[in-house]
C-alpha cells in the first residue's frame, strides 16, 4: 500500500514538475500562447485540458488490452475527440461565457500534443488508477503554468488581475503574440533555473548523507622501513 502511494506520489510529482507539459516538455504551445491573454481564460483552458486528459487516460487505459497496436493512434484520436466534443457541449450548456471566450481553442484541444502524448506514452501501458493520477497531475501542471502566464500577461497587458482592474498602466505588447512568446520564454527559463537549482541542492544533500564520516588514520609504523634501510 505504501509503495503504491509512493508510486502515485512520484507520478504526481512528474506531472507537476519533472515532466511539466508547458515548461519542461513545451507541449500544447498553440493553446498556451493563444489563450493566455487573461488569467481566467488560461485557468479555464487548463481545467478543460485536465478534464479531457483524465477521461481519455482512463478510457485508453481500460481499453489498452483491447485496442490492437496497429490502430492505436486512430483509436486514441477518436476517444480524445469524443471527450473534447462532450466537454464542448457541457461548457456551452452550463458555462457559456467560458465557451465563448475559448472560441476556436476549445475544439483544438483534440490536437493538443499533451493529451495524445500522455495517451501514447503512459495510459496505453499502465493501469487505470495510475493513468488517472497521471492525467490529473499532468493537467494540473499545465493549468498552473497556463494560469501563471495568463496572470503575467493580463497584469502587464491590461493592468488587471483575474478581471479586476488594479493598475492604470497597460503595455499593449503583452497582449500580442510577440508578448506571449516573450513571457513564455522567460517563464521557461525561470522554471528551468529553479528546478535545476533545487535538483542540485537535492543531489548535494544526498551526497552529504551518503558520505562516510572520515576517521583519523592510525599512526604509521615506520620501524620496519627503518630496519630495511639500515640493512
Amino acid at each position: 500500500m505504501n509503495a503504491k502511494l509512493k508510486q502515485y506520489g512520484k507520478i504526481a510529482y512528474d506531472g507537476l514538475i519533472t515532466n511539466n507539459a508547458t515548461f519542461k516538455l513545451v507541449l500544447g504551445t498553440c493553446a498556451t500562447l493563444g489563450m493566455s491573454t487573461s488569467a481566467v481564460n488560461s485557468f479555464g483552458m487548463g481545467l478543460s485540458v485536465t478534464v479531457v486528459l483524465l477521461l481519455s487516460n482512463v478510457i485508453i487505459s481500460l481499453l489498452r488490452n483491447v485496442i490492437p497496436n496497429t490502430v492505436r493512434i486512430p483509436a486514441f484520436v477518436v476517444i480524445i475527440a469524443t471527450m473534447v466534443t462532450l466537454l464542448r457541449m457541457v461548457l456551452e450548456k452550463y458555462i457559456p461565457d467560458l465557451y465563448d471566450s475559448m472560441g476556436v481553442f476549445l475544439p483544438l484541444i483534440v490536437v493538443n500534443c499533451v493529451i495524445l502524448g500522455r495517451a501514447e506514452a503512459f495510459a496505453s501501458k499502465r493501469p487505470v488508477i495510475e493513468s488517472a493520477v497521471d492525467g490529473i497531475f499532468t493537467g494540473l501542471g499545465l493549468t498552473c503554468a497556463l494560469t501563471l502566464i495568463g496572470i503575467i500577461r493580463e497584469f502587464l497587458g491590461s493592468g488587471s488581475f483575474f478581471g479586476i482592474q488594479v493598475m492604470d498602466f497597460k503595455i499593449g505588447f503583452f497582449t500580442n503574440a510577440a508578448g506571449a512568446f516573450f513571457v513564455y520564454g522567460i517563464c521557461i527559463a525561470l522554471f528551468m533555473l529553479i528546478t535545476d537549482q533545487a535538483d542540485k541542492a537535492r543531489r548535494v544533500k544526498k551526497a552529504q548523507l551518503l558520505r562516510v564520516p572520515a576517521e583519523p588514520l592510525p599512526p604509521v609504523d615506520n620501524t620496519a622501513v627503518q630496519a630495511t634501510e639500515e640493512t
Binding site: T37, L63, V66, I67, P68, T70, V71, P74, A75, V78, I79, A81, T82, T85, L86, M89, V90, E92, K93, P96, S158, G172, T175, N176, A177
Partner: protein
C-alpha cells in the same frame, strides 16, 4: 486468403475494434447532444441577459433581404425591446483585417416615439456589445472603453452622422485603437449598419 482466414486475421480485429469504438463514441455523443442541446431561444435570452444585465422581453422584427444589406455591412437580426422601447441590432461590419474580415456586434439604438405613430426619433447609441469576429487577430485590443465610446456621441448620432475609425484631430473620437485599426474599422461599420438600417427601415429616411 480465405474468408475464414480473413475473419481470424489481425486486420479484421483492428477494423472491428476501430468501428466499435467509433460506434460507441457516436452513440454517446448523440445521447449527450440531445441532453445538452441549446435552443435558439436559449441562445437569444443569454445574449440579451449579457447585453442588458437582466432578463428582458424582446420581439424579433422581420426584414427583407434588401433591408438587411448596407454599404457598411449586414443586419443579422433586429429586435424591439419591449421593456425600454429601444431597438437592438445584431450586425456584422465589413472592412476588417484580411479579405472578408468582419466584426459582429450587438447595438442598442436609443429612440423616442414609435414607428406606428410615425414620430420615431433617433437619440443615440445606448450600448455596444461585442459578439464575434472573422479573422481579426487583434480583436482583444478593442477594450470596453472602445465600445463605450459609441454611447458617448449622441450629438453625432442624432445629427445623422456615422462613425469613422479615425481620430478627428482633437482625439475626441475614440473609435480607433492603435494596433487594431482594421478591427476598429469593422466595428465602426457594424454600428453604422445598425444606424443605417434604423434610419432607412424604421424612420423611413435615406441611409
Amino acid at each position: 486468403m480465405t474468408v475464414k482466414q480473413f475473419f481470424k486475421s489481425n486486420a479484421f480485429k483492428s477494423l472491428a475494434v476501430l468501428i466499435l469504438i467509433v460506434l460507441v463514441a457516436g452513440a454517446l455523443l448523440a445521447i449527450f447532444n440531445d441532453l445538452l442541446y441549446v435552443s435558439d431561444e436559449e441562445r437569444l435570452s443569454r445574449s440579451l441577459a449579457k447585453i442588458y444585465g437582466t432578463e428582458v422581453t424582446a420581439e424579433e422584427l422581420e426584414l427583407t433581404e434588401e433591408e438587411r444589406t448596407y454599404a457598411y455591412g449586414s443586419v443579422n437580426a433586429v429586435y424591439f425591446v419591449e421593456d425600454d422601447g429601444n431597438y437592438l441590432f445584431q450586425t456584422t461590419g465589413t472592412g476588417g483585417y484580411g479579405s472578408g474580415g468582419t466584426v459582429t456586434l450587438w447595438t442598442i439604438v436609443a429612440c423616442t416615439g414609435t414607428a406606428e405613430a410615425g414620430d420615431l426619433t433617433l437619440t443615440g447609441i445606448e450600448k455596444v456589445v461585442y459578439d464575434s469576429n472573422n479573422g481579426q487577430t487583434f480583436i482583444s485590443n478593442l477594450n470596453d472603453d472602445f465600445y463605450a465610446a459609441f454611447a458617448q456621441q449622441d450629438e453625432l448620432v442624432a445629427g445623422g452622422g456615422y462613425f469613422t475609425a479615425v481620430t478627428n484631430g482633437t482625439d475626441d473620437l475614440n473609435n480607433i485603437v492603435a494596433g487594431a485599426s482594421k478591427s476598429s474599422n469593422a466595428a465602426c461599420n457594424a454600428v453604422n449598419t445598425a444606424l443605417a438600417c434604423f434610419r432607412t427601415v424604421f424612420m423611413g429616411g435615406a441611409a
